[in-house]
């Protein structure tokens, strides 16, 4: 699995886990809260004598409204059932909503109805009332039948509300069977209200399917026969007994079922009654009533009582069920959309902050998330990315949770009101709880998804409907609004997007012209086209990404979105210029490196590079403002075109596709030209995005545990027995005294310009002469493309952690040359001319109790600093550093280990006595051994190479002085570069790390050149092996070296050579003669030249090796430890 796919996989899993955790939490809350509500209701009502209100003239009056449409076959029986409801102050209003059957005729006949003239007191807007009927039979005096033109359920209910003369309204479905004492039980909460007005009250609805019903009464309760029916029985228990009771107790209930609910008529009329234009009129009404009460600052409540008051028949046919759930989803969406301003609006209290967000995230998004889960599952299955054990555990958890919740609902239902009291019904319900997640749940999820689709599809029909009491914004249909917003977004996008691309093209031309002035290979049309092409690819990609962000924000706030979009695009354009400038001056692409330096370090770098001036800063802001203003002005003048916007989007998506297929254009030229051709902005954004992903991954995910190389311990993957072979001893004369060790790390010293075989040639004449009497590893590699890893690698052969070993907050216990040699009574010192805190070097050296640390602030007086640029100098010149190094050893009796890090070969390459070294440079240029190509390169990098000659000369002076000292003959000098200069064009990827490694000592028996590939990782193990073997120094038995010694280096028995290009990019690995760079495989020859190869088997072997190292490194990041305390303490105790 690729890294990106793995990260996407893990992020997806986490998102689902978070969502699941949200659902689990809310359902746990519902379970606990509903139980309390049920118990409280039960305890408060167990001996309630409802009969006292049945006939009391002071009791509130109720109108029971039942809309009917084509219910002819059952309407007479249903009305008879309603007439048997036990309540004195009750009127029953049947509203025939323009039925096409004989409903009205049947009613007239059965109840002796006759038309009456009826003044309709209510003022809700409805379809025309054709006729109002009352019965001539006093036995049916409560009955009012209204015949009206068809207008839908909401319209029929509104007619009933208009007709009603009662205090409260009970809205029901005519086909429901209402318990005889239902109104009595509903009346009590209305009579109990005190400080808060009860505006709506619902009861529990149960399933009438398969129950024995006679004369409109449920005589015997049984569970439905089908699984579909039983699943709904369980679902209704969960919804009514748990969900609504919990929300009711928490004052957050926003749904009173349309099948049975009571409302305060006064508030109902004040709110404008039911909304005709929604299929979810029941929920919408309650939300609107609550909204009305809050807006008028009226304390109120909406409650649900757990008594089963109403029986309804649920669909047992799949298609009918799907239609019902489809409608419910549309209703939910309509309500949420209509009242969207309430969501997360603190003004609306619990309604805005809890209830509506809950409905949005869990009731509306629930099916969508679940459906996505199924889709992603199959995607993972087909792509082979699924972790089956994890998936099975997670799925089992979800299923068991569902079963638990259903079982809990059954248990609570049992405690509260025993509707299903037969043993076999309980068994069936429990079985249903087990099977329902596999059958019923996917069905309703799918219906919900279809509902979402239909909601968007069928919106046009709704746009024609009129609503009352709301502003234009409310009257506009969602689709119309979306289309309008979409057009507006695309128009603005097209205007600003076109400008962005246009200005980007102009900048690309400037970039090409500028590069052409100093890169002689970069003047052709091909390079121009490639650069333009790459810049366009990234410009379109970034444009489409920002465009989508713009679209989303636009839906919330159009002004903010435009402002943000314009500004971000202007920043991108300015960044394009800045990054191009950075490349031209550093010859390097800027990626994530920027974020690994502190503000102080960046300031220093910028000041040293002479760019941090007020003039530049002002120019930067002026440019930004100019581009932003241009966007703003043109967007005002030119409305833009939605089609053009779509076209730009299309090009953006095409660019994304091309880039995802690694289709960035490049020529077959050398590495530097290829780098110059790249989009600098694209690289910057891409590498930072990748780094962000890595960060998230490192933060929240972990590698497979137990990645271990040496096999000692899975907890300490790098820990192994110290078995490094002494390769140096046989080549050196053994002295009486323990030899001193002096390590000189030269900043930016690459092999390309410090060796005659380098592609630039030999610009270090002294070092070249030194090599003639030294051990030289011609194919030595540094461990990174920057300085940050030089010390930990050379001294301790240490892993990188996340951004370099030195970046860690706390350094783990480990062995290195400093602490091991110090333990063997060596004196230790470190000399650096710059700021010791740079890359946390001083912190690390202090951690290792280095005896003496000399850096810029503690540097002795009397030395020269490097010339300053813009008032800022990098620090002391190399001559000063090496002189201090020389002086440290003077007069010490014990052996010593001294380290020096030079400085002058660093951008901006300013040195003292420049003329002197310029002359030497000119002299080197005349060297006939330089090829024409080498000379061209050398001419193009004059400034850099003069600084190289400077350090070489300083080294010459250093050795000349040192040779006069007595201990010179038993001192080992090691000279290497920390990395090659990125400012000097690279011919191949490996050149960035190809550095000289020279071991010079008078103790050498003979000079020797090695061509095996070694790295800085091998230095410490080999040096300690030498001291152990030849001088009996105490060295640890267990170590955490990455290098296995200079004899093994990057060959097969070793772990390989991992290399960090920058603090965030661990994309290079050398092993067994091959080099992986960013998933591309190269074969290395004996001179470290590399050619791309496509050996699948070899590539995969090396990739596995690299992956193994990454896993070990990640384990180390996770644990923060390299070895057990005991190993560390034991060694130092001795």
């Amino acid at each position: 699995m690729s890294e990106v796919a793995k990260v996407i996989y893990e992020i997806t899993i986490w998102l689902f886990l978070l969502y699941a955790a949200g659902i689990f939490s809310i359902y746990t809350w519902i379970a606990i809260f509903s139980y309390g509500a049920l118990v409280r209701y039960k305890q408060g009502n167990v001996f309630t004598d409802y009969s006292i209100i049945a006939t009391d003239p002071n009791a509130p009056s109720f109108s029971l409204i039942a809309p009917a449409y084509n219910e002819g076959k059952t309407i007479v029986e249903n009305v008879r059932s309603l007439l048997s409801i036990y309540y004195h102050r009750l009127e029953i209003i049947i509203v025939n909503d323009g039925s096409k059957d004989d409903s009205i005729e049947r009613l007239i006949k059965a109840y002796h109805l006759e038309p009456i003239h009826y003044i309709i007191p209510g003022n809700l807007s409805t379809q025309e009332v054709i006729q109002v009927y009352k019965s001539t039979n006093p036995a049916f005096r409560k009955l009012i039948v209204v015949d009206k033109k068809n207008g839908g359920k909401a319209d029929a209910l509104n007619v009933g509300i208009n007709i009603s003369k009662s205090d409260y309204i009970v809205c029901i479905d005519v086909d429901c069977i209402i318990e005889q004492d239902a109104v009595l039980k509903l009346a009590k909460p209305f009579m109990e209200q005190t400080d808060e007005r009860l505006i709506a009250c619902g009861g529990v609805i149960r399933l009438a399917n398969n129950c024995r019903i006679e004369h409109g009464k449920v005589l015997e309760v049984s569970l439905p026969k089908t699984w579909l029916g039983r699943s709904q029985a369980l679902e209704y228990i969960r919804a009514f007994v748990l969900g609504r009771m919990a929300w009711s107790r928490a004052s957050g209930l926003i749904l009173i079922s349309g099948a049975f609910g009571a409302f305060d008529k006064e508030i109902l009329l004040a709110c404008g009654g039911y909304d005709h234009a929604t299929v979810g009129e029941d929920m919408e009404l309650v939300v609107r009533m609550r909204r009305y009460m809050i807006e008028h600052n009226l304390p109120h409540q909406v409650i649900n009582i757990p008594d089963p008051l109403c029986w309804t028949e649920v669909p047992e046919d799949k298609d009918v069920l799907k239609k019902q759930r489809n409608r419910w989803m549309r209703g939910t969406m309509e309500t949420l959309w209509k009242h969207r301003k309430l969501i997360f609006n603190p003004k609306y209290g619990k309604l805005g902050m809890v209830s509506l967000p809950y409905w949005f995230f869990f009731e509306f998004l629930g099916p969508f998330v679940e459906f996505s889960g199924y889709a992603i599952f199959w995607f993972f299955v087909f792509t082979g990315t699924i972790n089956w054990s994890f998936f099975i555990a997670l799925y089992a958890l979800v299923v068991f949770w569902s079963v638990l919740y259903s079982t809990y609902a059954i248990a609570v239902d049992l405690v509260s009101r025993q509707v299903y009291s037969k043993q076999k019904d309980m068994r069936k319900l429990l079985l249903t709880a087990v099977f329902e997640p596999f059958y019923f749940h996917p069905l309703v999820t799918w219906a919900g998804i279809r509902g979402m689709v239909d909601y968007f599809r069928k919106k046009s029909g709704w746009g024609e409907m009129t609503r009352q009491g709301f502003s234009q914004e409310h009257q506009e249909s969602l689709r119309a609004r979306l289309v309008r917003a979409g057009q507006h977004i695309l128009q603005h996008f097209s205007t600003v997007g076109s400008l962005f691309i246009g200005i980007g093209l102009v900048f690309s031309v400037i970039e090409w012209l500028h590069y052409g002035s100093f890169i002689h290979q970069f003047k052709g049309l091909t390079e121009f086209l490639i650069l333009i092409g790459n810049n366009l690819l990234y410009s379109f990609t970034l444009l489409v990404v920002l465009g989508m962000l713009f679209g989303l924000i636009h839906l919330l706030n159009s002004t903010l979105s435009k402002w943000l979009f314009n500004l971000l695009l202007a920043i991108l354009l300015i960044s394009q210029l800045l990054l191009a400038y950075y490349f031209s001056s550093s010859r390097n692409l800027l990626g994530t490196d920027l974020f690994f330096y502190s503000a102080e370090e960046i300031k220093n770098i910028l000041e040293s590079s002479q760019v941090l001036t007020w003039k530049n800063i002002l120019a930067l802001f002026a440019g930004l403002l100019a581009i932003y203003s241009l966007f703003h002005f043109i967007a005002k003048k030119w409305k833009g075109s939605a089609y053009l916007g779509l076209g730009l989007m299309g090009l953006g998506i095409t660019s994304i596709l091309l880039l995802s297929l690694s289709m960035e254009f490049n020529s077959d030229r050398d590495e530097f030209v290829q780098t110059a051709e790249r989009s600098k902005l694209g690289f910057f954004v891409e590498s930072n995005a990748e780094h962000l992903i890595q960060e998230i991954k490192a933060e929240y995910f972990d590698s497979n545990p137990g990645a271990v190389y040496a096999g000692i311990s899975a907890d300490y993957p790098f820990l192994e027995l110290e078995q490094t072979k002494d390769v140096l001893g046989p080549l050196m004369v053994k002295t009486e005294k323990v030899p001193n060790l002096v390590l000189i790390v030269v900043e930016g010293l690459g092999n390309a310009y410090s060796d005659p075989k380098g592609y630039i040639g030999d610009f270090t004449p002294f070092l070249s002469s030194l090599k003639d009497s030294s051990m030289v590893w011609e194919n030595a590699l540094s461990s990174s493309g920057r300085t940050f890893s030089a010390l930990p690698t050379l001294l301790g052969s240490l892993p990188f952690a996340s951004a370099g070993f030195l970046e860690q907050a706390n350094y783990p216990d480990h062995f290195n040359l400093l602490n091991v040699l110090k333990h063997n009574h060596f004196q230790t010192a470190f000399i650096y001319g710059g700021d010791g805190n740079f890359d946390f070097m001083a912190k690390y050296l202090e951690f290792n109790r280095t005896d003496k640390i000399i850096e810029q602030r503690s540097f002795p007086k009397g030395y020269r600093k490097l010339p300053s640029s813009a008032g800022e100098s990098w620090g002391y010149e190399d001559q000063a550093v090496l002189d201090q190094l020389y002086r440290q050893g003077d007069g010490t009796a014990s052996p010593y280990f001294h380290i020096a890090l030079t400085l002058s070969t660093h951008n901006p390459f300013l040195i003292n006595d420049e003329k002197k070294y310029a002359d030497l440079y000119e002299k080197r240029l005349q060297d006939p051994r330089l090829t024409k190509e080498q000379r061209t390169f050398a001419l193009a990098n004059r400034k850099q190479l003069i600084s190289v000659i400077n350090v070489d000369d300083a080294l010459r002076e250093f050795f000349a002085k040192y040779a006069t000292r007595a201990e010179f003959k038993h001192t080992i000098f090691v000279i290497t570069g920390d990395h090659a200069m990125p400012e000097i064009p690279l011919q191949s990827k490996i050149d960035r790390y190809h550095v000289p490694l020279i071991l010079y000592s008078k103790m050498l028996k003979e000079k020797k050149r090695f061509t095996n590939i070694v790295s800085h990782f091998d230095f410490a193990p080999s040096l300690l092996a030498y001291y152990r073997q030849n001088y009996g120094l105490k060295v640890p038995q267990k170590v955490t070296w990455i290098g296995k010694g200079l004899d093994i280096g990057g060959s097969r028995p070793g772990l390989g050579i991992p290399i960090m290009q920058s603090k965030s990019q661990l994309i290079d690995f050398v092993y067994d003669g091959y080099h992986i760079n960013d998933q591309k495989l190269f074969q290395l020859d004996r001179s470290l030249n590399e050619d791309p190869v496509s050996e699948d088997v070899k590539g995969s072997i090396i990739s596995v090796r690299f992956e193994q190292f990454r896993d070990m490194n990640k384990d180390f990041i996770r644990s923060g430890k390299l070895m057990p305390d005991s190993v560390y303490q034991e060694f130092f105790k001795k």
């Binding site: 893990e10 886990l17 305890q43 408060g44 167990v46 001996f47 004598d49 009969s51 006292i52 209100i53 009391d56 002071n58 009791a59 009456i116 003239h117 009826y118 003044i119 007191p121 009352k134 003369k165 009590k188 209305f190 009579m191 109990e192 209200q193 005190t194 400080d195 972790n387 054990s389 994890f390 555990a393 997670l394 089992a396 958890l397 068991f400 949770w401 079963v403 638990l404 079982t407 809990y408 059954i410 248990a411 049992l414 405690v415 025993q418 009291s421 043993q423 309980m426 429990l430 960060e695 490192a698 933060e699 929240y700 995910f701 972990d702 590698s703 545990p705 990041i1117 996770r1118 923060g1120």
Partner: protein, 355 residues
């Protein structure tokens, strides 16, 4: 950076939760089974007690009851004793006279009074309320002192039950708690209290006068309901003085009460107030005029029938006139009006629903 959780740990976490969920499900199943058994027990007990109570009432009403050994045995279980009390309370509501007395005897012979007392000292409010209810229904007057102590109980269900019990035992005098009550007494509680007052003491008017001046509107409304229930005609003058009360619900109650204790000048005074009244109060006045058949106010109604702006009010006026026997007048008026005239429609409506 230190990862928060790795996949391995996540797996373990999921498995632990899974096991917990599984165990909890098992626990729930066990609990459900127990509840089901309890439910089955209650169903059985209900049948047993129903049979026993019917048998006791029908056959043993005149004799002293015998203790049923099986019931006595079951009474060793607290759950059963409480269930038994519940059944007795339910039965007491259905029976009066000797039958009710029989039920009370049963309450004592099975020692359920002790259980009810025990419930009074329970910490759970609903059990205290149930204890009060049982002792009240079974007329255990000796428990009054104990019950009175619960009057200020923080739980509403306990304090309400105590209020009711005191009124049940002491009648109107038991309402003395109304002096200090600050919370709103719900309509439900008012209804229960009203049902419990059977007679009024002679000095009730003075007390009611004080309550009519209460700052608690629910106390005023209860006082008005008592005046209405016991037809305290002597209060008419006082109520007329209080006609312009600020709370509209009190005002509506007041109008209704005035019509129920109507005197010679009541309707005249109400008509004088009519223009200042809210629509709902006006509706109450119109309804009231119809109820008392205020023929002396017929002219006012005739005038309003044509002039009143609200159709619902017009219907009420027409209905009120119809109830005063003015149907011929209304029919005649209907014939005189044009078909599209709203008053004609109103008359159609009123006449159709009255004839």
């Amino acid at each position: 950076m230190e990862p928060v959780l790795n996949i391995h740990e996540l797996m373990i976490a999921i498995q632990v939760v899974l096991i917990l969920v599984f165990l909890f499900t098992l626990g729930l199943l066990f609990y459900s089974f127990r509840e089901y058994k309890a439910l089955a027990d209650k169903t059985r007990w209900k049948k047993l007690l129903d049979d026993y109570l019917i048998k006791s009432i029908v056959t043993l009403m005149e004799q002293s009851q015998q203790v049923d050994p099986s019931l006595e045995n079951l009474c060793k279980r607290q759950t059963f004793r409480r269930f038994f009390i519940g059944q007795l309370i339910e039965s007491e509501r259905r029976f009066t006279g000797t039958a009710a007395k029989t039920i009370m005897n049963i309450f004592y012979i099975y020692g359920l009074d002790k259980e009810a007392y025990q419930m009074l000292s329970n910490s759970r409010p609903y059990l205290i309320a149930r204890g009060i209810q049982a002792l009240t229904v079974m007329q255990v007057r000796e428990a009054l002192q104990e019950i009175r102590k619960t009057l200020d109980h923080p739980s509403e269900i306990v304090s309400q039950e105590a209020q009711l019990a005191i009124v049940y035992f002491e009648g109107f005098n038991g309402l003395s708690f109304l002096y200090g009550v600050e919370t709103i007494i719900s309509e439900w509680q008012q209804l229960r209290i009203l049902n419990s007052i059977k007679v009024l003491p002679e000095d009730a008017v003075t007390t009611l006068l004080e309550w009519l001046h209460s700052t608690n509107v629910s106390v005023i409304r209860l006082a008005l309901k008592i005046i209405r229930k016991f037809q305290l005609f002597e209060m008419e003058g006082v109520l007329l003085e209080r006609l312009e009360n600020s709370d509209h619900r009190v005002q509506e109650e007041l109008v209704r009460t005035l019509f129920s204790i109507e005197q010679v000048n009541t309707s005249t005074a109400l008509l004088a107030y009519f223009p200042k009244a809210t629509i709902q109060e006006q509706f109450s006045i119109i309804r009231g005029l119809g109820q008392i058949r205020a023929l002396d106010k017929l002219d006012f109604l005739k005038e309003q029938l044509l002039a009143y702006p609200n159709p619902e009010g017009k219907v009420l006026i027409a209905e009120a006139m119809a109830s005063m026997g003015q149907i011929p007048f209304l029919m005649e008026l209907r014939e005189q009006l044009l078909p599209q005239d709203q008053t004609r429609l109103v008359l159609n409506h009123a006449l159709k629903s009255k004839i």
